[in-house]
Subunit: 225 residues, 2 copies
């Protein structure tokens, strides 16, 4: 479902050039569960943003579902993001004025799902991440890990065919981490594709395949046993 | 240096009452290195904020350096926070319009340290966290882990006698985690007190003592071997 060739993201700050992603070739098939690891600053979030069409590469080519993304209109890109891709951002990106429920239902608002239905689904998914009793709370009335879980719930509510999760368990205790990974595996068992960034080896072990980035390039690409 | 008795933080949201911290008694002696663990939502950040005088308890008593904090003026509290306590916030709290250097030098600005001196010290500490080449970058030009390290650098720049670090390594790879923990141990070896929240058992193991919170109360309090 994902194919990149020579994918590069370059930043120029004054005289200095930084390659966040550098000439990267990658294929991810439908139904794969892949983890991305690598040192801080090695390019993981940048790659995730490029895969999710939240950013554009400086050079290189990216095909999503066989269509070259640079040929897509803004409306087409927005449609794909809204309908097919679930995101868990490293910084959560929750809207501070909205309750947990309103944050989680947002992807369904964009799809035009009727209010009653979308609120029921959003409440159900919040229950799955252990926040069923907190649906009316705003992010600033929650702990760090609770906010992270709202972000995870929002990524799952539309049952995306591609889930991009950037460090979805960094602020979670091990029990809650297990619960989240069980949800991801459930989504995967339904035939969906999962790409997960993590610093935790135990979390990476749950994936089928692990790539390690270094300085914007793929350093290793191996299957888990 | 820290003593609490019956410390409680209660939130009331509509008809619902949440005890973030509940009737908690705690002593931390000068020169201790203590880790706090516990499930998401168990009260760790709330306790940290209370210890650091960034929040006030609903009920209960807190003595810092033998002085009851409720008897301190705002100026006295601000002076203690600025001069003696280093904070690493779970959400980093970097100022987005300032460069890494300007963020890190901020505690020294508040102390009236002259510009040239404070910039030299800030650059040095950024070097210690592996960001010596990024001092002019703003937070949005950095990865998640790089921002976390700027936050750590800012907490250390004033060589605080009490360091409160709320999940300082959650977004860091293991190598960078080791580097940060080495810095904390160095500060500890100089006689300073460290209180560290973490979800990572390996990180908690580096402390001398580990308390585990559950529903706002201390569930266990043990020394590491
Ligand atoms: N402003 C607030 N209003 C209502 N409830 C709050 C508020 N701040 C925190 N809480 C609640 O208090 C409890 C403790 O929060 P706290 O942030 O201390 O947890 P934590 O142990 O740091 O969790 P995490 O590991 O997820 O960061 C949580 O249930 C949280 O939702
Ligand atoms: N807007 C930007 N301007 C300049 N440099 C940037 C920008 N965004 C990211 N970078 C740099 O690109 C590199 C890769 O960043 P990225 O966020 O992809 O790293 P990461 O692997 O996700 O790291 P972490 O584990 O710390 O989250 C880093 O060196 C980062 O500082
Ligand atoms: Mg990242
Ligand atoms: Mg917390």
């Amino acid at each position: 479902v994902i194919r990149t060739q020579g994918l590069t993201k370059r930043y120029q700050t004054g005289a200095e050039v930084i390659f966040a992603v550098k000439d990267l070739d990658l294929r991810v098939e439908r139904g794969e569960f892949m983890a991305i690891m690598g040192a801080s600053g090695s390019g993981k979030s940048t790659l995730m943003n490029l895969i999710g069409c939240l950013d554009t590469p400086t050079t290189g080519t990216y095909w999503l579902n066989g269509v070259e993304t640079s040929q897509m209109s803004d409306d087409e890109l927005a449609a794909i993001r809204n309908r097919e891709i679930g995101f868990v951002f490293q910084t959560y990106n929750l809207l501070p004025r909205l309750t947990a429920l309103q944050n989680v239902e947002l992807p369904l608002v964009y799809r035009g799902v009727p209010a009653r239905e979308r609120r029921a689904v959003a409440a159900e998914v919040l229950g799955h991440v252990g926040l069923g009793t907190r649906i009316q709370h705003r992010p600033n009335e929650m702990s760090g890990g609770q906010r992270q879980r709202v972000a995870v719930a929002r990524s799952l509510v539309g049952t995306p065919s591609l889930l991009l999760a950037d460090e979805p368990t960094g602020n979670l205790d091990s029990r809650t981490t297990e619960d989240i990974l069980d949800l991801f595996e459930q989504l995967h068992s339904q035939g969906n594709t999962i790409v997960l960034v993590t610093h935790e080896p135990d979390v990476a072990r749950r994936a089928q395949r692990v790539i390690v980035l270094r300085d914007g390039e793929i350093f290793s690409d191996e299957l888990n046993d």
